[in-house]
């Protein structure tokens, strides 16, 4: 593996970890602060001012930003499977925090996800598609 390929792979793993953790935590707070029903359109706005919902939304903004950064160099077909480790974390968090039992079916699902993620993140390069040259004004910025 060339130095450049190793650099992109390591950078992708770090960024994917941020994407995964912010998504799991964000969805947890969003769901825990959500009322049973949102009867009027205005309720969709006012619910955003509940503290737990607001924290969830902030974490989901971090999720979106880190995911966009990851997509600036990595394939979408790499990002999608790799970031699905989040489903495994949700299941394990349910067991540790809420003492939910993990059934045999869910353990099978966890094993399938981890195998798939290991295949995609370990055996395929994050970037396979031809990249256009950056726009001239972009080339100088952010270096």
């Amino acid at each position: 593996m060339t130095h450049e390929a190793a650099r992109l792979r390591f950078k992708s793993w770090i960024c994917a970890a941020i994407v995964i953790l912010s998504n799991v935590a964000g969805n947890f707070f969003l769901k825990s602060g959500m009322p049973a029903s949102l009867p009027t359109p205005l309720d969709y706005i006012t619910v955003l001012f509940r503290p737990t919902v607001a924290l969830g939304v902030l974490l989901l903004i971090l999720w979106m930003a880190s995911r966009m950064a990851l997509l600036s160099w990595a394939d979408l077909s790499y990002v999608l499977p790799v970031t699905s480790v989040g489903y495994v974390l949700v299941a394990l968090a349910g067991r540790v925090l809420l003492h939910e039992e993990i059934t045999a079916r869910r353990w099978t699902g966890i094993a399938l996800i981890m195998t798939g993620v290991a295949l995609v993140s370990g055996a395929t390069a994050p970037q396979t598609s031809p990249r256009p040259k950056p726009l001239p004004e972009v080339a100088g910025a952010g270096r």
């Binding site: 979408l76 489903y87 798939g116 295949l119 396979t128 598609s129 270096r143």
Partner: protein, 120 residues
């Protein structure tokens, strides 16, 4: 109603993520994570129409998902919306011209089956 919401979520998420990937790819690799550089990148990205359109599509998807969560449990909402994984991987191959190798397909299929098993 819930199937209408799921259809809207799948369509809006897929369109939004393909547009986002195209826009971010056009911007090029983000290498500098200092606050000033991130501000400049955000200012540049805000003027990228594909990124703008992706934000609109994902906002539609987000509010449709909030609505879905009031109708159903996560254990239904998550696997139902995981259909987007299949659709987006196909679109990534044909629209984004990514080389989806046999290994990557195998990994993606394992993940999709695993997500369904974990959340059903």
């Amino acid at each position: 109603m819930k199937w209408v919401l799921i259809a809207a979520i799948v369509a809006a998420t897929s369109a939004g993520e393909i547009l986002q990937a195209m826009g971010m790819r056009q911007h090029g690799e983000i290498r500098d994570f200092r606050p000033g550089a991130i501000r400049r990148a955000v200012a540049l990205l805000a003027r990228n129409w594909m990124v703008g359109a992706s934000v609109v599509a994902m906002a539609i998807s987000f509010f449709a998902y909030l609505g879905l969560l009031t109708l159903t449990e996560l254990s239904f909402a998550v696997p139902a919306t995981a259909v987007t994984y299949v659709l987006e991987t196909v679109l990534a191959k044909y629209i984004l011209k990514e080389r989806v190798s046999a290994v990557r397909w195998a990994g993606a299929v394992l993940v999709i089956c695993g997500v369904a098993l974990v959340s059903l």
